[in-house]
Assembly symmetry: C2
Homo-oligomer: 377 residues x 2
C-alpha cells in the first residue's frame, strides 16, 4: 500500500508577525492533490498539527475543515498523532467518534500500543509524551527521561508485532544525530541528546515529525517529512514536501511542494530596492530577508520598503552601520566632546536639522540637571 | 418518546474563585442517572456547554469524557447547540463525525434549518447566533438585531415542518418577559428586550438555554431547563434540575438535582461561627455566604473562618461596621484632632496595643515630612 507521510503543519504559526494561514491552506491543498495523484491508501500526520496548545479560532476552523474534507469527503484514512506543540487534551476532542471513519488520532501514550491495522501494515501511532506519562503507564518511578522510557515503549510495541505484516511507527521526537533549524523547539524534553536511532531499527518504516528538514536524519528506514512550509529563515534552502512510502517494496520517494510565497534573501542598496528595473525582476510577494548595502541612516526605511515589498521579515546591514557621525567620531576624540555637543551632533545626524535656540537651551538645562544630580547622590 | 432537557452547564465556571469542576462532574453523573431511570430516547443540551470560549484543558477533558460516555458507551442520542458562552468554532471540532452516532451538535445558524428527525419528532437545533450571521444567511443587510432576524429564522424553520410530526425547537436566547439572575450574561446581544414569545407558539416544545432558573419563563410550550448547578448567590433559592418531556403527550415534569455542595447563607456572630455547638449543626462544606453579626474589626478574619468553613464565597456585616473608633469619633470632634493623634488612635484600635515610644517617634517624623512636602509643592 502507498502512504503519504507529512508532519509539522503548525497551523496558525506566524512568520515574523505574518499570518501564515493562507499559505497553510494553499499548501494543504497541494498535499491533498499529491495524495490523489499517488492514489495513497492512507495519510500519516506525524504531530504538531497546531503551532500552539491554544490555537486561534481561525486555525481551528482551517484544520477542522481540512481534516473533515480529507477524511469524510475524499475518504482518505488518516493516521495522526499529537506533537509537542499540540495540546494533547484539546486535540483529542472528537477522537472517539473518528475511528469509525478510519481517522485515527492518537494523543496518549497508551494508545501507541494498539496498532492500527491497514493493508499489509501495522501502524503504531506514538504521540509525543512526557516522562511523567511513561512513569504512570509503566508504573516505574525511575523513568526520568524520554531516553529511559523509549526502550520500554518500543519493547511494549513489539509485543503486538504480527510477523506477517510490515511495522510502521509514527512518532514525534528528536532522534540523536539529526540536524535542527531555528523553528524547532530548542529545549528538548528530558534534556540530553534525543532518542537513540538503534531503537528504531525493528520497524520497516518510521514516519517522524518534529524536525523541519526532510534530510535531518540519515537512517535507512526512518525519515522526517519536514514541515510543508519554511517556518524560519534558517529553513530557506530546504526543499519542502512529503514522502510517499510504498509498504510493499519499502521504497520511498519525495514529492516537493511549492509555497504560495517563498522565503528569499535579497542583497541590494536602498536605491536599487526602490528601482522598478530591479524589483520587477524578482517576486516582491515573497517573504524577504533584506541585506541592505547602504551604511547610512535612512529615515522611515521600513515604511518605504514595505510599499514595494509587502512581506519583509527582516532588514540587516550587509556592510554594517556606519553613519557620518561614526566617521567623524573616528577622527575626533569622542572623550573630549561635551555631552551637550554629542547630543547636538546626534540630533543633527538623525534629523538632518540643526537644533533651534530653544531646543539647545532645553538640552543644556536637561543635561545640566542630570549631571548635577548624578554628582550629588 | 421521552426526552431529557438540560442546558447551561458552563463547564469550567468558577464560583468566587472556587473551581466547580468536581461539582460539575458530580451533577453530570446525576443527570445521566436520571436519563437511565427515565429511559429517555434523547438528551437535549441547549447551549453554554462551556463557560468560556477558550475553556481550560481540565474542562475540555471533562466535557469530552462526559459526552463520549453518554453517546458512545451509554448510547444516548444527543441533541446539542452552542450558546453565547461557547466558541461555536471550537465547539464544532469533530461534529462532522458525530452524526453517525446520533450525536447532533449544531453551531451555525444554517444548521438549524435541517431538522433532526427522531421518533415522532422533528428537532430544530438553533444555536446562539449574532445578527451578522443572519445578515449573511438571509442576504439581508437590514437585519441589525436578533429581534429582527428571529421571525425570518422561524419562518424558514417552518418550511420543513412535517405535519405528522411534533416540532421541537432547541435554542439559546433570552425570551422577553423572562426573569434573570446574576450569573447570566447581562448584555443582551442586539440590545432590546429579547425574543417575542409569540414567535415560539408554532412549536410543540421549546427547549431553551441561557437563563439559569427553570421558572424564568411562563409559557405553556416553552421552558428554560436552568443550569444544573447554582452559579451565583442570587440563584441560591432556585431548584435545579432537568425537564423530562414526553413528545407523545407533551407532558413535562421536572427532576431535581442534588449538588455536591449547596450554596447557603449563614447569619451568626464570629464567636458562634467558631463554636462547634454551632458549626456541627450545619454543612460546613457548602459554599457559604456569611452575614457576620459583629460590628468590630476582627483581625485575620477570613483565615480563621476558612479553618472551619473551606468554601466561603463572601462575608458581609449584618449590622454594618461600627468600631470603637467610630463610636468615639461620633462624640469627639474629628476635625480638632491632629493627624498624629488620629493615627495613634487607629493603631490602638486595630492592634489592641499602644504605640511604643519609637513607633510614636516614627509616626511623628513621617507625618511631619508628608505634611511639610504637601505644603511646599
Amino acid at each position: 500500500m502507498k502512504v503519504l507521510h507529512t508532519a509539522d503543519w503548525h497551523m496558525g504559526k506566524k512568520l515574523h508577525g505574518y499570518d501564515l494561514l493562507p499559505d497553510q491552506a494553499y499548501i494543504l491543498d497541494q498535499i491533498l492533490k499529491i495524495a490523489k495523484e499517488e492514489i495513497v491508501e492512507a495519510i500519516v500526520i506525524a504531530g504538531d498539527l497546531y503551532d500552539r496548545s491554544v490555537p486561534s479560532e481561525a486555525s481551528v476552523r482551517l484544520l477542522n475543515q481540512t481534516i473533515a474534507d480529507w477524511n469524510l469527503t475524499q475518504q482518505f484514512p488518516l493516521l495522526a498523532i499529537s506533537g509537542n506543540h499540540d495540546s494533547a487534551t484539546r486535540l483529542a476532542t472528537g477522537t472517539p467518534w473518528f475511528n469509525q471513519a478510519q481517522f485515527h488520532l492518537h494523543t496518549r501514550l497508551k494508545e501507541a500500543f494498539t496498532p492500527v491495522e491497514m493493508g499489509n501494515s501495522q501502524f503504531y501511532l506514538l504521540p509525543y509524551f512526557e516522562p511523567v506519562d511513561a512513569r504512570i503507564y509503566f508504573e516505574d518511578s525511575e523513568l526520568r527521561t524520554i531516553q529511559q522510557a523509549m526502550p520500554k515503549v518500543i519493547e511494549k510495541i513489539q509485543e503486538s508485532f504480527d510477523p506477517d505484516k510490515k511495522h510502521i511507527l509514527v512518532s514525534h521526537f528528536f532522534v540523536a544525530g539529526s540536524s535542527k533549524t531555528d523553528s524547532e523547539t530548542k529545549i528538548e524534553v528530558g534534556g540530553l541528546d534525543g532518542i537513540n536511532g538503534k531503537l528504531l531499527e525493528c520497524f520497516d518504516y518510521v514516519a517522524l515529525g518534529h524536525l523541519h528538514g526532510k534530510d535531518a536524519l540519515k537512517m535507512a528506514n526512518a525519515r522526517y517529512s519536514g514541515s510543508p512550509l519554511k517556518y524560519s529563515l534558517s529553513e530557506k534552502d530546504q526543499t519542502k514536501g512529503v514522502w510517499i512510502v510504498d509498504t510493499d517494496t519499502m521504497d520511498f520517494s519525495f514529492r516537493t511542494l511549492t509555497p504560495l510565497h517563498e522565503i528569499q534573501e535579497l542583497q541590494a542598496s536602498f536605491a536599487e530596492l526602490l528601482d522598478p528595473a530591479f524589483y520587477t525582476t524578482i517576486n516582491r510577494e515573497d517573504y524577504l530577508s533584506i541585506l541592505l548595502e547602504d551604511r547610512a541612516v535612512i529615515p522611515n526605511l521600513m515604511n518605504q520598503l514595505r510599499q514595494v515589498y509587502p512581506r519583509i521579515i527582516q532588514v540587516e546591514r550587509a556592510n554594517g552601520f556606519e553613519t557620518a557621525v561614526e566617521k567623524r567620531l573616528k577622527k575626533e576624540n569622542i572623550k573630549e566632546k561635551s555631552p551637550v555637543n554629542l547630543t547636538k551632533d546626534f540630533f543633527t545626524e538623525v534629523s538632518q536639522n540643526e537644533l533651534t535656540a530653544k531646543q539647545k537651551k532645553w538640552i543644556e538645562e536637561g543635561l545640566h540637571t542630570i549631571l548635577k544630580k548624578g554628582g550629588e547622590e
